[in-house]
């Protein structure tokens, strides 16, 4: 009887210990792990690498000169997300997006690319553009007509002295379920983050 009770005691101890260990394992298996939530946005050059952003390495873009980039975004938010990439035309005086206050650039929007992305999905596509027409007004050059991915866009607001220091700004916006709107950047817990890129170029008149 004494022998049996000792065996029983041992068995009960082992059973309780094993139950605790397996319960912990089961809990870990069924509970999703928290992870960092963020997006990645990038622009690649014509070789699909972080190089050769300008034809012949020359940032002076002539009218009719085709520039080929690849624009991409990856969703690391851990869920399905609706993403908008806003393409803006700026110059050296128009403000860039504000990382600290999470304010987008006031530069006018040229066009928007929109897509719903799965978790961990990368969305990459060509961004082929050229300046079709250019106007000069008292030394200020306005690239008035752009062609981007085969579509024509007009600009009458953004100019630059001698055509120097234009920039194309890419801003990542995402759908915010709380407000039901698309907002600049994204929310991760109580924090808000933003992501944007810019590439500078000079618009040059033919014959200059």
């Amino acid at each position: 009887m004494a022998r049996l009770s000792e065996d029983l005691k041992r068995a009960v101890t082992i059973f309780i210990s094993a139950t605790m260990v397996f319960s912990t394992l089961a809990y870990v298996a069924v509970t999703p792990r928290p992870r960092e939530q963020f997006y990645q946005i990038y622009v690649l050059g014509e070789t699909r690498k972080a190089e050769r952003y300008y034809p012949d390495g020359n940032p002076n873009i002539l009218v009719g000169r085709v520039v080929r980039w690849y624009l991409g975004a990856t969703n690391f938010m851990g869920s399905v997300q609706y993403v908008v990439i806003k393409v803006k035309l700026g110059n050296s005086t128009i403000k860039a997006p504000d990382d600290v206050n999470r304010v987008p650039s006031p530069a006018p929007v040229l066009l928007e690319f929109k897509k719903v992305l799965m978790s961990n999905e990368t969305w990459e596509f060509p961004f082929v553009w050229e300046i079709r027409e250019i106007n000069a007004d008292d030394g200020v050059i306005y690239p008035t007509v752009f062609e981007i991915n085969g579509m024509v866009f007009r600009n009458s607001q953004v100019g630059a002295l001698r055509g120097h220091n234009f920039r194309i700004v890419f801003e990542l916006w995402s759908f915010d379920p709380e407000s039901g709107r698309v907002m600049f950047g994204w929310r991760t817990g109580v924090e808000r983050r933003v992501a944007w890129l810019q590439i500078w170029f000079n618009a040059t008149m033919p014959g200059t």
């Binding site: 065996d7 041992r10 068995a11 082992i14 059973f15 094993a18 139950t19 397996f22 319960s23 089961a26 298996a29 069924v30 869920s79 399905v80 609706y82 908008v84 006018p108 929007v109 040229l110 066009l111 928007e112 690319f113 929109k114 897509k115 719903v116 992305l117 799965m118 978790s119 991915n149 579509m151 866009f153 007009r154 600009n155 009458s156 607001q157 759908f175 379920p177 039901g180």
Partner: protein, 165 residues
């Protein structure tokens, strides 16, 4: 998905009243609202642990609805009010389909996740019992082996002592 919007993309051609444009614009707004509802529904299904392949199908449909809204906006800017309304209505239809599919998928996923959890936690006592039985019989076998070994050593010792005598 190429969104429209430019500083000045195109000007609407004449012949349409403001109310006609307003009607189309309202259809686009409704399409946009339905699209956002569809996203929320898909995200709920995903949070419930929906299967990735089925989610991918819903996401593809979402992208179709999004493309149609973009297309409707472009058509409206070009003055094609009828075309814009048709695209917006089609987008609304797709978004509603997505909501309905996503709700079904969410319910299935909730149920499947529940059964999965019950199965996982149900395995806990079974695994514990197996470990307990294994440990119990393992302990018994080891103890018997040790006793046999000790007995053999004692017998060998006795035999050696007898031989020496």
């Amino acid at each position: 998905m190429l969104g429209l919007l430019s500083f000045s993309f195109a000007t609407p051609s004449g012949g349409y009243s403001a109310s006609t444009f307003g009607g189309s614009s309202q259809a686009i707004d409704r399409a946009d609202m339905e699209f956002k509802r569809a996203i929320m529904a898909v995200r709920e299904a995903e949070a419930a642990g929906a299967d990735e392949d089925r989610l991918r199908i819903l996401v593809e449909k979402l992208n179709s609805a999004l493309w149609m809204i973009d297309r409707a906006e472009i058509l409206l800017l070009q003055g094609d009010v009828v075309g814009a309304s048709a695209q917006a209505e089609r987008s609304i239809e797709i978004s509603r389909e997505i909501v309905s599919d996503a709700v079904k998928l969410r319910d299935e996923s909730v149920q499947s996740a529940y059964y999965g959890r019950v199965f996982t936690f149900g395995l806990v006592p079974v695994a514990s019992l197996l470990v307990t039985a294994g440990a119990h019989f393992g302990w018994k076998w080891w103890r018997r082996r040790e006793i046999d070994r000790t007995m053999r050593m004692e017998i060998r010792g006795l035999k050696e002592r007898k031989e020496e005598e």
